[in-house]
């Protein structure tokens, strides 16, 4: 799977797509592969404040539980309801239908600290 050029990436394997002052956040294909079969996703509720680099929620595979970190600070606008009933979609379409949350950015400058698709792939390669 390719890593979209218009996303930004974290070292903890989240992606964010920024459109205006809204960021859509998800897990990368690398993350879903490392986790294996995903069986449960725990996400914040709309209206909650999140902080860049802090836990946003968690994702559980058959084997283990891992934290999801927010790439940016802001307020949760929307949560992907699909994942409550079909967490396995995260294995199938991590860069598309299985996005996690939409966040209203409180500090858009934080985006500059994230990796480009090329940087992220180099990071995975190294």
């Amino acid at each position: 799977m390719s890593y979209p050029e218009n996303f930004r990436y974290t070292k903890e394997h989240e992606w964010i797509l920024v459109e205006g002052d809204t960021g859509t956040v998800g897990l990368t294909d690398h993350a879903q592969k490392e986790l294996g079969d995903i069986v449960y996703v725990d996400l914040p509720k709309p209206g909650m404040a999140v902080e860049a680099g802090k836990a946003l929620g968690s994702v559980e595979s058959v084997k283990a539980v891992s934290d999801i970190y927010s790439p940016v600070s802001g307020e949760v606008l929307e949560v992907n309801g699909l994942l409550a009933t079909a967490p396995e979609k995260l294995n199938e379409d991590p860069h598309g239908a299985a996005w996690l949350v939409k966040i209203r950015l409180s500090n858009p400058a934080e985006i500059d600290g994230l990796m480009s698709a090329a940087d992220y792939q180099a990071y995975l390669g190294g």
Binding site: G36, D37, V39, Y40, D42, S58, E60, S61, V62, K63, A64, V65
Partner: protein, 362 residues
């Protein structure tokens, strides 16, 4: 440096994700834990469990040593018979849980947990007052497990041994693919199947032959991930989780492997004392009722108060529920008790249920 099993390269070539398991580099999964788990429940799975240890006890008084170090009654074993047993310390806690195979009256073959094999060997050797020859032979055997309802048909294609004549918990020495093999009808999945003990140099050939023979039946190579979810559904203990040196068979629901009428054995005095005093905590099964998964080490509460801990937990693919096992005060351990599992500081409702969670259809 991780210890290597003979087939590590074969697993990498199959695309396995390798992990450190108790010092061995082992396959965690190939295509996915759920898919592998379902293959074993519905068709067959092939596991490389060559990390497991083998300890052999030989001599005219081999039975005396086996009887002293283990809790089950090995005097009842016939040649070619296997049983599950406990290896206890003097204080009654588990050194290990083991399978005892009687090869002959003067030769017993013990299959022990990988990470315990050296301390098991030292423990057994230290108790050897009968002049037995005790050998720590883990490196002399590879072990493959073919498990699942189609396992007998698959293995039968590769051996002249009449597998239908090997009953559950029996074994025979014969050949698989023309290679010497100890063929035991045992397993750690809750399904029918066989565990094969082979010379390490023969393992690759037998592995590939089993995958080829099983293709028409839907066999899949399976890793430790599926091995864990399968044994958990079947309610089987895993050393370091349900049992360890601080746990006796009385707490672990394993009094059935303690044969009180067999005579003295290492740990017996302390077990008797504990039994007379009353067992204070017991292993219980649980099912999650709320959203969340109870995992190993999570705190268990009852009525808002700390009551115990989760020993193993995760999703059950066969039941489509989140299940687990935990230690609770004895009075709370019977099925039907409302408990809470602390999942990341939040109490999530669960209820105790009987073990095992899954029984294979007869």
């Amino acid at each position: 440096m991780l210890k290597q099993i003979p087939l590590a390269e074969v697993h990498r070539a199959l695309g396995a994700k390798m992990v450190d398991f108790g010092g061995w580099e082992m396959p965690l999964q190939y295509t996915g834990i759920l898919e592998e788990h379902r293959a074993v429940r519905t068709a067959a799975g092939l596991f490389d469990v060559s990390h497991m240890g083998e300890i052999e006890i030989r001599g005219p008084q081999a039975l005396d040593l086996v009887q002293w170090v283990s809790t089950n009654n090995a005097a009842k074993l016939a040649d070619g018979q296997v049983h599950y047993s406990g290896l206890l310390y003097e204080h009654g806690g588990f050194a290990d849980d083991i399978l005892v195979h009687r090869v002959s009256a003067t030769h017993f073959f013990l299959c022990v947990n990988a990470s315990n094999q050296d301390k098991d060997y030292e423990h057994i050797a230290s108790q050897n007052r009968w002049g037995c020859v005790v050998e720590n032979n883990g490196s002399k055997y590879a072990q493959l497990a073919v498990q699942g309802p189609r396992a007998p048909e698959i293995l039968q294609k590769l051996t002249a041994v009449a597998l239908a004549e090997i009953r559950y918990y029996r074994f025979r020495d014969g050949e698989v693919c023309g290679r010497a093999a100890r063929i035991a009808r045992t397993g750690y999945t809750g399904e029918d199947g066989f565990e094969l003990y082979l010379a390490p140099g023969d393992a690759a050939e037998v592995w590939h032959a089993l995958l080829d023979a099983g293709r028409e039946f839907g066999i899949k190579p399976c890793g430790l991930g599926a091995r864990n979810t399968l044994r958990m559904e079947a309610g089987m203990a895993l050393y370091g989780h349900e049992i360890d040196a601080s746990i006796t068979p009385l707490e672990a629901g394993l009094e059935w492997i303690v044969k009180w009428d067999k005579g003295d054995f290492c740990g017996r005095a302390r077990l008797e004392k504990r039994k007379a005093e009353g067992v204070r905590r017991r292993l219980a099964g649980f099912e999650m009722r709320g959203r969340g998964i109870g995992r190993d080490g999570y705190e268990v509460r009852a009525g808002g108060q700390p009551a115990g801990w989760v020993t193993s937990g995760g999703p059950s693919p066969a039941l489509n529920k989140n299940i687990g096992m935990c230690y609770l005060p004895a009075e709370l351990a019977q099925p039907g008790t409302a408990i809470e599992i602390m999942v990341r500081e939040q109490p999530v409702e669960a209820v105790t249920v009987p073990i095992p969670f899954y029984r294979r259809p007869k």
